[in-house]
């Protein structure tokens, strides 16, 4: 057990997989000497060489397209997309090739490709550096989509993603990179696609993931002071979704608020609401409410904190849910 930042945990996971399996390669922009703009690949090129930690030419389609080719040849590439807003040039290769290749080959070619994407806002950045594109990928059959909210999950989930024989889009909440936490590298990790109840409660359920888990926990603590016990679920996996865990909680609490940074329309909250209202219809005492980014482009950074869901907006929704 040791205490480390999420960035360090991700680095350790990469290192672990590269040591274990010579087929694991890391590729992306500036992942070599620089160690990535967030230093997640720090030191890897020095230790594993330039042919395993590859500074790619500047093209995201090239990064993912060549990862597909590497996978056909039996490799297990881990691609870094520098920022959320730069994944779109690779969208065609992800949606039409990476996600579909295994199926197209009737299971004869595996696509064990991990695509790491630092995502989300709150770091005061310029345009395209604070987006939350996870719903695009969760809507795409053939992909698995996960996200971590703490160093331990960062470590284990990235290991599991790399070990997985399917393509995994791995979202890293960039504003939580430097928060520290305990990581037990000898533990038995939870299954990759399992949601976690991170705070038990009985009055309402909060579902969050990635960067919003900490915010949801803050909200739950604030609510507790006002006498409401919120159960907080860290979804962890966005595709597949561990609906059972959410439904079980809602069966108990009768109320659900889903929180994410992405624009609310057709965000993950929509899917969770649709599923839960179907599976827990008779348990719901209030409509499922969603707290998300507004249906606008991500705003200039000086007002991002207002645009992003925060404790107040979450509590406002909780109050509304409780008022039914």
């Amino acid at each position: 057990m040791s205490t480390m930042s999420m960035a360090a945990a991700l680095n350790a996971a990469l290192r672990n997989r590269m040591e274990a399996d010579p087929k694991v390669l890391v590729m992306g922009l500036d992942v070599g000497k620089l160690g990535g703009v967030f230093r997640i690949t720090d030191g890897l090129q020095k230790d594993f060489g330039e042919d395993r930690v590859i500074d790619a030419p500047l093209g995201e389609s090239g990064i993912v397209g060549s990862a597909v080719g590497l996978a056909i040849r039996g490799y297990r590439p881990v691609c870094e997309i520098q920022f959320d807003g730069f994944v779109y040039p690779a969208f065609d290769q992800i949606v039409c090739q990476l996600a579909k290749f295994h199926n197209r080959s009737l299971g004869q070619v595996k696509m064990p490709v991990t695509i790491r994407i630092p995502y989300g806002g709150g770091i005061g950045a310029v345009e395209h550096h604070s987006e939350s594109p996870e719903a695009y990928f969760a809507h795409t059959a053939g992909l698995k989509v996960v996200t971590c909210s703490n160093p331990s999950d960062a470590y284990w989930m990235l290991r599991q993603a790399i070990e997985c024989d399917d393509p995994v889009i791995f979202f890293e909440p960039k504003r939580r990179y430097w928060a520290k936490g305990d990581v037990d590298t000898d533990a038995r990790p939870a299954p990759l696609h399992k949601a976690h109840v991170v705070r038990p409660g009985r009055d309402a359920t909060l579902v969050a993931y990635g960067p919003m888990v900490a915010t949801a926990l803050d909200a739950a603590r604030a609510a507790a002071e006002d006498g409401s016990e919120l159960e907080v679920i860290d979804l962890r996996s966005l595709s597949p979704i561990d609906t059972d865990t959410v439904v079980q909680s809602v069966t108990k609490t009768g109320r659900l608020v889903v929180v994410h940074e992405a624009s609310v329309t057709l965000g993950m909250g929509a899917e969770i609401a649709a599923r839960v209202q179907e599976r827990a219809f008779y348990s719901l005492e209030a409509p499922i409410l969603r707290v998300g980014g507004f249906d606008t482009p991500y705003p200039p950074s000086r007002i991002e904190e207002e645009w992003l869901p925060d404790v107040d907006r979450i509590l406002d929704a909780v109050d509304r849910a409780l008022s039914y």
Binding site: G65, I72, Y75, P89, S105, M111, H193
Partner: protein
Amino acid sequence: MSLHGHVPPEPDLIQLLTPEGIRVEHPDFPLSITDDEITSLYRDLVLVRRFDAEATALQRQGELGLWASCLGQEAAQVGAGRALRSQDMSFPTYREHGVAWCQDVDPVTLLGMFRGVSLGGWNPNENNFNLYTIVLGAQTLHAVGYAMGVVRDGAVGSGEKDRDTAVLAFFGDGASSQGDVNEAFIWAAAANLPVVFYCQNNQWAISEAVERQSRVPLFQRASGFGFPGVRVDGNDVLACLAVSRQALDEARSGQGPTLIEAYTYRMGAHTTSDDPTRYRLTDELETWRLRDPIERVRAYLVREAGVGQDFFDALDAESEALAERIREACRTLTDPGPLSPFDHVYAEQTDELAAQRAGYVDYLNSFEGAGH
């Protein structure tokens, strides 16, 4: 000086066999080949054309939903295909039936996706022939990644004949305009990868003439990225073979990528859904008929190699037998079951999708005897 003053001359095509069937030499691409080998190339050309024609016929009969014919491009494909060694990997578009043939892929295998019973479904690593890729240009980046793997595996420049590996990536004149193809050039050049890019310029991208894509010959594109490009008579199987061999050899030995532009012609429609009379003149077709890739080899074989009618008769019979076999086999390509879409979405099935499948099973079962 005017920046725009210089107009480069149109290049000559590399040609080793004229449309009249005369064997000519090219100083840069010597080819020593026996008449037996030419006969064998001829056989491939004829069988590919016959198979292709049969597929077109099967589409007309409603056995296939669609067919993308390679009529007219047989030499470009067989020339390239026959230049591959068994360890090499090829990345086709959706029209390289002639390359598939050379890679020993059963033609019937190719029919599945056109019949609509699969999305491809073969294993690219079985015959080193990648799955057909419909999104234009995407496969060129796959070729690049595969070649990166080849290099890392130490399978380039080792000097071992059966180890050193090249990758052959196909695309069309139209696809040359896609970002992906150009990124593939950049990656291959920057890392000196063993990829041969093989552009079949068949003059058309559906209804758009190649002039829509480029005002200079496509092979020239390569020089701007820093690797050689060459234009070959794509209807001359010997030239295609010689140039492909050379480029693949240089790739295997670690000299990096080459772009080959096989200058050819799509004699048929784009696909069976297309009506080329809306956009091109029959004159053009006539001109290209005179450059038919098969006729010239036959002329050579008859006139220069003394190949007799027996051979041609036997080949006719073989062609018909092939067509017959394909026809039969096509009809027996059965539809996948209704649950098959769930089978290979993931290598590690998710509980979620398994549940969706189970729900669908229940639904299907609900009809048993329900009179629906």
